[in-house]
Each structure stands twice: as structure tokens, then as C-alpha cells.
Amino acid sequence: MSAESPVQSAGFRGIQTGPVLRRVNAWLPVIATVAILLLMLLAGQLYFGDFVTPRLVSSLFDNNPYLIVLAVGMTFVILTGGIDLSVGSVIAFSGLLGAQLFAAGLPAVVVLPLMVLSGTLIGAVIGIMVAVFDIQPFIASLAGMFLARGLAYVTSLKSLPIKNDGLNWLLGTSWGGGQWYTTPGVVLALLLVALAFWVLHYTRFGRTVYAIGGNEQSARLMGLPVGRTKFLIYVISGTGAGIAGVLFASYTQSGNPLAGLGMELQAIAAVVIGGTILSGGSGYVLGSLAGVLVYGLIQIAITYMSVDSWWTYIVIGVLLLVFVVFQRALSARRRG
């Protein structure tokens, strides 16, 4: 047979989308988030007049560095199709652990790593449950959530103040001049975003995260270390929660057993608004950063309008719905 005929192979040249169009397609959810962010800033400027100022931009980051860190860890988890409900409780536990250790007179160089490590440990427990015992991430991390919240109460039943220069330095120091400012905590959070981006897109581990989200069975048959990767993403998420605990303690100057209540859901909302699909395999950590900023901007706008703060939840709820429908339509179009 004339199998080598060029006409035959022509059918296998497939779809030739231009590189630009293709990239735009994959990034569309993130671009949409950024567009919404800019639209909100524009609307605020038109509505309030003097809205978009260096101060606003600076405080947008400064208000939520811990949420940025949580969203980074959560992005890893959601990209594999998992979920981590424990991170809010870890903030409470990590904060109170720090408060007690500081009260015992230990220096910041010892206490801060221990606070982070407490999150790593809880993440590792969840990771073992998910990766080794094949327990649903929802249940495993729910257990982790109760465990961490319980440990927080065991550590202290009431709020404990923290007086420590090292901790205070993180969010208390203001870098920059005049209206433009930032804090070491914000810089740390943004560095973690950059690190996460590199890990997700330029390491085999990161690509395995995407592969697991695409199809876990296939990833396994391709010989990728699925179990190890799943374990590690919960360790990453837990460590992120530990770091967020440090930042939150620095922000509130205290440890509180009720700290971080519901914050895991805020982080999930930010990740989803940022374009990561809950079933995994698709999304970008930069989108999650944009998601946190959208969240922060809504908070600020609500304050500006001096309406009650629960409107934040309503707006976030509506936005989440819009985004999920948008993603649904987008993936339907891609398939069709």
C-alpha cells in the first residue's frame, strides 16, 4: 500500500493554532480575573473619586499577606483535584503555639520556625492519610481541621497577646517612602508566589501536580511518583498555613483560638476566582494571587462605602458563582 503518501500524513498535522491564541486560551480565566480587578479599580475611581492611590495599592497587599500564602498552598492542592480544609485552624494553632513559646521566653529564631513546622506536621498527617491510606482529601483535611482547632484550644482557651520584636518586624516594619509602602511579610508572600510559580511550571514535581489533576490513573501509568507528590502537596499546604499563622500572629500581635475561622474557605474562593478548576489539572498560581487581590479590593470597597461588612460575603458569593459559570462555559467551548 502507498502508506507513505504525503496526503495521508497531512491529516495528522492537526490543529494549528497560533502560539499567541493558544496561550491566551489557557490563561483566559486569569486574564478575566485581572480584568475584573482593573474594572473594579476603575469603577471605584469613577464612583469615589480619589480611590486608586498608591496607598490603596499598597494596602491591598498589606491587608492580606497571610491569605496570599494560604492561596499559594491551596493552589497546589486544588491543582491535583484535592482540597485542604485544615489551613484556617492551623493559623490558630500556630499562633497560640507561638504565643506560649514567646511567653516561655524563647527567642524568635526558635519560635518562628517551630510555628511554621506545626503547620508542616499537620499537613504531613493529612498527606499520609490521602497518599498512603487513600482517604478522600475532604475527609482527611476535615480531620486535620478539627485536630488543629482542638490543639489550639488545648494550647490556650483564650486569646494571648504577643510582644516580640522579631514577629512584629514582619508586618510592623514599613518599607518604602510616603504613600508607597510594603512590609517584609508582603515581600515574603510575593516571594512565595514566585517560588510556587517556578516549582509548578519549571520542575518535574510541579508538572506531576498538573498531571495528577488531569488524570491520576494516567499519571501513575506514566511512571510518575503520584503518591509522593500527593503527600508533598499537603505538606506544602500545611507549611504555607504555618507561615500564614506567623504572619497572622504578627498582624494581630496575638494568638487566638478563634483565629482563621473560615479562612480556608476564603483561600479556596480566592483560588477558584483566580481561575483554578476544582476538579484539578488547570490553573495558575498567579491567578490565585489575583483572586486574593480581588477579595481584598472588595473588602476595601465595602469599607469605603461604609456599609456593613457582611456585604463582602454577598459580593464574593456572587463573584464565585459568576466565575464558576464562566469556567464551565469556557471548558464546554474548548471541548466543543
Binding site: 502508506a3 517556578w198 506531576t208
Partner: protein, 507 residues
């Protein structure tokens, strides 16, 4: 034999709970040879593959690679030894790019980061070696199944395997794609790779393979050179009995079917972007075949007339009564049932027992309040298992443990149990062996004889011609014609299917 086998298995035995899946099977794979594994569903082909690739550890027997005894504890170990597999269910990642699907786990690094430029270059090279030219950065999900299949092969070939196992690579490909795949197989063969090719299409076995091994019921029947064994002889060895040649299978004599009452009628039925509006009548006691290429809209049409999907325009009537769009339950109540194309996702519930799978639709129809007694359920399931010859005949066995053909029978039993008036079968014979195919075709004919209307979708024209009274031809999401099957030839239908689809072949 001057050349020594690269991989030699002797006496491989694999025991599954309650079942001897593989019983002392030998297999010899020679470099530069295409070796077909042949057998009915449940003959042990999949198990043999798994035993060769470390996915299953054999209970007895030896594996020799280049004469040295080896044993693989995991798929990774087999891959490292140069044994690569491309599975029937494409094990790829549709959310990632073509390049990544080829290179994942083996990407070149530079300063600790993945070097994306070189990754893409190497992927392009791997594809080019197979004469495939697609954008390496495009997401895999944009490409049709055939291209994905070739990407999977490119991934396997890139490791320069000594042995390449292709498990039913052609089951979802059309003719020109098969030709393309065979070209790739021949290229690899010339490069000295030992290729294992598994398929149910005997014509393809004769077209591409040099040697074949026949399995039956987990036992070795024999190893033959393809050129030395006749097809009829081969079928006999597969089935273990002499069946009448398929050509002698009685052609259905179509009767003047205007005498039969119309059961289902579609007028201007359609849905935007899915199927163009069409008129169609299905009469009682007829088998209506639906032909067309993959993606021509066969499944979509079937889903519209069965009420599974909502129609956007037109009218659908069953015995004169109109069905509202998307009224699937009403359709089932009137006796219209649709058996899905994809057994795994649209039909069989793998974790339930055979009995539960069979009784699912019946129980749904009775309502959950009127649960059948355990004894009654068992009796019903047993009767269907016997009627359709489901093997193993254990109603409590997990349906997922069955072979494809037997899963199809379970699915059929499920729908037959509700006593349908119109049975719509979407590719019921895909991926199942000849013996089971003939049985299914017989069954369809006898059901039609009893007055049931059957709509039968198949990618194989021969079998459509064999059993259908009329054949509807789909092309580019349009019903382009309904042909009376009297003295209709293969070429007649093919001409209608292929008429204009040649010019514009982009998806």
C-alpha cells in the same frame, strides 16, 4: 530459527481470586517482528500483557529477556528494561500539552529548571520520527483520538523500547488513521523493535503481523506464522469449534416493511450544532442500522431519538404520542431504551455485581418502594446470564472484572429486562471478539423477529449490512440518507459516507 527471541515467556500462570486467568502460557517475541495476540474476550490477552509488563506478578512461569531470566515487580521496572505499552484506554493527560505528554517524567533540565525549549524540540523529534507534524505546545485535548493514539506511541517509542505492546490501538480509528498507524508500526519494525499488536480485526492481523499467538480460556492454543494460517482456521482456533464462516451468516431478507406499524417517528428533529434536523421512522420489527464515520453524529442522533439529550427543534413521537424534549424517563416508560457507546462511562457500573447491573433499569422502573426479593432478583439475573451466555456465570461477581464483550452482554440484559419496544444500541460490538459479535448480531435479529424495533450503530459496515433492514447514513452531523438494504453493497454505503468528507478533513 536463526534469531533469538528478545523476550520469551514460558509457563506463565496468573491466578485471580476464583479464576485461573492464565494457565501456563508461552510467548516468544522476536526483534523486528509484529506479533499478534489473538483470542476472544476473557481469553487472557490482557492478563498476559499485564504479566509481561509487571502490572501483575505471575504465580508461576519464567520471563527471559535476551536469554537472561528476569522478573518485573512494577510497570516501572519493565519500562526500564525496555518493555513499553500503549494501553487501549489512552493513558494520557488531556489537560497538558502534546510535548508534555511525550516527555513527562523525562524532561531535559537546565540549571535545575525544566528546559521547555529542548523539551519541545525533543517532542517534535519524537513525533517527526513517526512522520507526525503537530504543534507540540497545543493542548492534547484539542486533537482527535487518532492523533492522541499516535502521541501515546511517540511517548512509548521515545524510550527506544526493545518491545512495544499495542493494546487494541485501532479500535477507535477510522480506515485512513489505521493506515497511518500501520505505517508507523512498519517503521518501528524495521528499526528492530519487537511489536505486540492486539486487535479484534482479523483483517488487520493479516495486514500487519508476521506471527501470531492464539489464546483461549487462559490457555495457549498455539503459535503460528501469519502467512501459514488461513483466516477460517484461525477463527476456529480462537473459538475452539468450527463455526460456519461469517460469510455464510444468513443475510437478513428485508420484507416490505410498510406493513409494520411505525413505532417511533422524528420530524425535523435536531439540535443546533449537534445534529441537523432530520426525519426518521422506525418500524416495529425492523433493524435500522446507522452508519457513518467517527464523529459524524451517529451517537448524537441516537441520543436525541431516545430522549437522552434534549432536542432543540422538531417533533418526536412514539406510537403517535409526542415526547417532550429531554423526557428520557417518559421515553423509557414507552419502551425506548438507549444502550450507551462507552461501556465504562455510560453503562456498566464496575463496582456493582453483575446481578445489580442487570436489575438496575428494571428496579428503576418498578420504583424503589417495590424492591424485588433477593430470590427473585437472583433468579432473574441468572436467567439473563444463561440466555446471553455471560461468562463467568456468577451473578455476584463484580461487573468490572468482566471482559468487554461480557460487559456489553450485561448491559444488553439490563435493557432487555425492562422489555423494550425499541432498543437503541450504540456500538455494541466495538472491542469485542468475533464469537461474541456473531452472538449479538443473532440476538438482534431474533429480537426484531419478535417485533422489537432495533437501532444499531456500528463503525463496521459489514455487520450493518448483515443485520439491518435499512441503513441510515450520517455525515458531518447530518442524516444524509436512509437506504433499503436489499442487494445493497459495501461500496454503495461507503460512497455515501465518504462523498464529500474528503475535501475538508479538519475538525
Amino acid at each position: 530459527m536463526s534469531v533469538a527471541p528478545v523476550l520469551e515467556a514460558t509457563g506463565l500462570t496468573v491466578r485471580y481470586p476464583g479464576q485461573l486467568a492464565l494457565d501456563g502460557v508461552d510467548l516468544r517475541l522476536f526483534p523486528g517482528e509484529v506479533h499478534s495476540l489473538i483470542g476472544e474476550n476473557g481469553a487472557g490477552k490482557s492478563t498476559l500483557i499485564k504479566a509481561l509488563t509487571g502490572a501483575v506478578i505471575p504465580d508461576a512461569g519464567t520471563l527471559r529477556l535476551d536469554g537472561a531470566e528476569v522478573s518485573f515487580g512494577s510497570p516501572g521496572a519493565a519500562a526500564a528494561a525496555g518493555i513499553a505499552v500503549v494501553y487501549q484506554e489512552l493513558d494520557l493527560l488531556p489537560n497538558l500539552s502534546v510535548a508534555e505528554n511525550i516527555m513527562l517524567g523525562r524532561e531535559p533540565h537546565r540549571f535545575g529548571s525544566i528546559d521547555w525549549r529542548r523539551t519541545r524540540e525533543e517532542a517534535v523529534a519524537a513525533l517527526a520520527a513517526l512522520d507526525i507534524f503537530i504543534d507540540p505546545a497545543s493542548p492534547l485535548q484539542q486533537h482527535p483520538a487518532a492523533v492522541q493514539q499516535l502521541v501515546a506511541i511517540a511517548r512509548a517509542v521515545r524510550t527506544q523500547p526493545r518491545v512495544l505492546i499495542l493494546d487494541e490501538p485501532t479500535s477507535s480509528l477510522d480506515q485512513s488513521e489505521v493506515t497511518e498507524l500501520f505505517r508507523v508500526i512498519r517503521t518501528l519494525k524495521e528499526a528492530g523493535v519487537a511489536i505486540v499488536f492486539i486487535t479484534h480485526f482479523l483483517e488487520q492481523v493479516y495486514e500487519v503481523s508476521d506471527r501470531l499467538t492464539v489464546l483461549r480460556g487462559g490457555r495457549l492454543v498455539g503459535e503460528y506464522l501469519t502467512r501459514e494460517i488461513l483466516q477460517a482456521e484461525l477463527v476456529g482456533k480462537m473459538l475452539g469449534r468450527h463455526v460456519e464462516s461469517l460469510d455464510e451468516f444468513e443475510l437478513r431478507q428485508s420484507e416490505p416493511d410498510d406493513r409494520q406499524p411505525v413505532f417511533l417517528e422524528a420530524r425535523g428533529l435536531g439540535r443546533d450544532g449537534v445534529v441537523a434536523p432530520f426525519d426518521l421512522r422506525v418500524r416495529e420489527g425492523e433493524v435500522l442500522g446507522l452508519a457513518g464515520l467517527l464523529g459524524s453524529g451517529r451517537t448524537e442522533l441516537a441520543r436525541l431519538i431516545s430522549g437522552v439529550d434534549r432536542h432543540g427543534s422538531g417533533r418526536l413521537t412514539v406510537e403517535g404520542a409526542e415526547l417532550r424534549p429531554g423526557a428520557m424517563r417518559a421515553a423509557i416508560a414507552r419502551g425506548v431504551v438507549y444502550s450507551a457507546e462507552d461501556r465504562r462511562y455510560g453503562g456498566i457500573i464496575e463496582d456493582l455485581s453483575i446481578e445489580d447491573n442487570i436489575l438496575l433499569a428494571l428496579q428503576a422502573q418498578r420504583g424503589w418502594m417495590r424492591r424485588a426479593s433477593a430470590a427473585r432478583r437472583r433468579e432473574l439475573a441468572q436467567s439473563w446470564i444463561e440466555a446471553l451466555g455471560i461468562v463467568p456465570a456468577d451473578p455476584q461477581l463484580r461487573a468490572g472484572a468482566l471482559s468487554g464483550g461480557n460487559q456489553q452482554k450485561v448491559l444488553l440484559a439490563r435493557w432487555l429486562a425492562v422489555a423494550p419496544r425499541l432498543l437503541i444500541l450504540d456500538e455494541p460490538t466495538r472491542g469485542i471478539d468475533i464469537g461474541a459479535k456473531v452472538e449479538l448480531q443473532r440476538l438482534m435479529l431474533s429480537l426484531a423477529q419478535e417485533g422489537m424495533a432495533v437501532v444499531f450503530i456500528s463503525g463496521e459496515l459489514e455487520e450493518l449490512l448483515r443485520v439491518s433492514d435499512r441503513i441510515g447514513v450520517m455525515r458531518e452531523r447530518r442524516l444524509v440518507g436512509v437506504l433499503e438494504n436489499d442487494a445493497l453493497s459495501y461500496e454503495d454505503v461507503l460512497a455515501l459516507i465518504a462523498r464529500s468528507s474528503r475535501g475538508d478533513d479538519d475538525e
